[in-house]
């Protein structure tokens, strides 16, 4: 894990250097720099939810002992990065279009829906006593979440045509090579950060469990 931490630090430093010193300032202006963090954070959040769904599926299918905990921690990371997506997206919207929130940014609206969905995941988890049933319920709900992502995306896209036409797009513009390289480094950095935090939190939770068992054995 130390190696992972070092890798994360290196990638994050490299990406910040590249963003501010290497990538050219876009026609949009300086605010485009936010894009280099905002989109990788969003993609990383999707990856976390996907990973959580995968672990949930594995839990239901093969029942490896750690899968439920791993699914939970992955979804926890996904929610943290999702919240970050919403905040950075909101700041970006404020800079570009003058409002803190815009319903026509499809990615942002999708994240809002997913954020609500996965917050309910935690409420569900805390309202059931620990045990195999809680693991099953969480896994089923996590899988629903993964299915919801593309369905919601389609729905939000459909919704925009009767709410108001899509005027603003925040998805990446055609990028020059240097911008693309910077973007990829930033994306790698975010994925590395998410994975590191995931392993970090998992280690903490396993320590908790071991200590609990130790206490029971000694008492």
């Amino acid at each position: 894990m130390t190696a992972l931490a070092v890798l994360t630090t290196g990638l994050l430093t490299a990406s910040i250097v590249l963003i501010f010193f290497y990538a050219p300032v876009d026609a949009d202006g300086l605010n485009q720099k936010i894009f280099y963090f905002h989109v990788p954070i969003a993609l990383t959040s999707y990856a976390c939810f996907g990973w959580g769904g995968l672990k949930a599926f594995l839990h239901l299918w093969k029942r490896p002992p750690g899968a439920d905990l791993e699914s939970y921690v992955a979804i926890h990371q996904g929610v943290i990065f999702g919240a970050l997506t919403l905040v950075t997206g909101s700041i970006w919207a404020k800079v570009r279009w003058g409002t803190w929130w815009t319903w026509s940014d499809e990615q942002l609206v999708l994240f809002l829906v997913l954020f609500l969905f996965y917050c309910a995941y935690f409420m569900l988890r805390y309202s059931v006593d620990p045990g195999p049933q809680r693991a099953n319920l969480s896994a089923v709900y996590a899988l629903f979440g993964v299915v919801l992502i593309p369905i919601s995306f389609m729905a939000i896209r459909l919704a925009n045509s009767y709410i108001h036409p899509t005027v603003f797009k925040s998805s990446g513009p055609d990028m020059a090579t240097s911008q693309l390289a910077t973007f990829c480094v930033a994306w790698a950095a975010m994925l590395s950060l998410a994975y590191f935090l995931y392993r970090f939190e998992l280690a903490g939770k396993k320590l908790d469990a071991n200590l609990k068992e130790l206490r029971e054995l000694l008492a």
């Binding site: 969905f117 059931v128 009767y162």
Partner: protein
């Protein structure tokens, strides 16, 4: 296959008969939806468009469904019938299908009252709205029944069902409202079909894991 259908029929008939005798869920849903429509009249200021009212119709449908879904597994949970059901030699997903059919019946009856009430209180309803309501019902009931079973197991029960259900209901509302207000509703109706198919399959497949240890 025939055995499965027979199981589903028996279980669904049980739920419908229970409701026919107890008569608690369905009248509540009917009263709820009409009261909600009246509240909506007062919630729409003058010069609000027809379209706003159409949108609110879908809000009424989703929340009426929630009222019905909250009651869906109450009997099973309170009288421990779920253990008896699980001991029965039927496929677990048959329980889900039967319960979904029963809730669909309740929701359908509620809508048979709600849609004419809406037409009287607000404005007329086209065929696209009716088609959308039928399609949306399937999706709402499929997902809602599974989530009602999940909520029945948790400590907070009725409290958590809306939290679990509403994010999943957002695509249904989008599809339904879109089909109701747009000139060519085909895309929205198609989307509702997709939603129904996807979530019915996943609910059917995962019900077993929700009720077993």
């Amino acid at each position: 296959m025939r055995r499965y259908a027979a199981d589903v029929a028996v279980l669904a008939r049980k739920d419908l008969t229970l409701e026919l005798r107890a008569r608690d869920t369905l009248p509540a849903m009917l009263l709820f939806v009409v009261s909600t429509l009246v509240v909506f009249h007062f919630a729409l200021p003058r010069h609000s468009s027809d379209l706003a009212a159409k949108g609110l119709l879908w809000v009424a449908i989703v929340f009426t469904a929630l009222v019905g879904l909250t009651r869906a597994f109450v009997a099973e949970r309170e009288q421990r019938l779920i253990d008896g059901l699980l001991l029965a030699p039927c496929d677990r997903s048959a329980i889900w299908l039967a319960k979904s059919i029963a809730v669909l019946a309740f929701l359908g009856v509620a809508e048979i009252v709600a849609l004419p009430a809406y037409a009287v209180f607000f404005s007329g309803i086209g065929w696209s709205t009716i088609a959308a309501v039928c399609l949306a019902d399937l999706g709402i009931v499929a997902v809602g029944t599974l989530l009602a079973a999940v909520a029945a197991v948790s400590r907070t029960r009725e409290l958590i069902l809306p939290l679990l259900f509403l994010p999943l209901a957002i695509p249904v509302v989008i599809g339904g409202v879109g089909a109701s207000v747009v000139g060519s509703p085909a895309r929205y109706l198609g989307f509702l079909c997709l939603y129904d198919a996807v979530f019915a399959i996943i609910s059917w497949a995962s019900f077993e894991y929700v009720v077993t240890e």
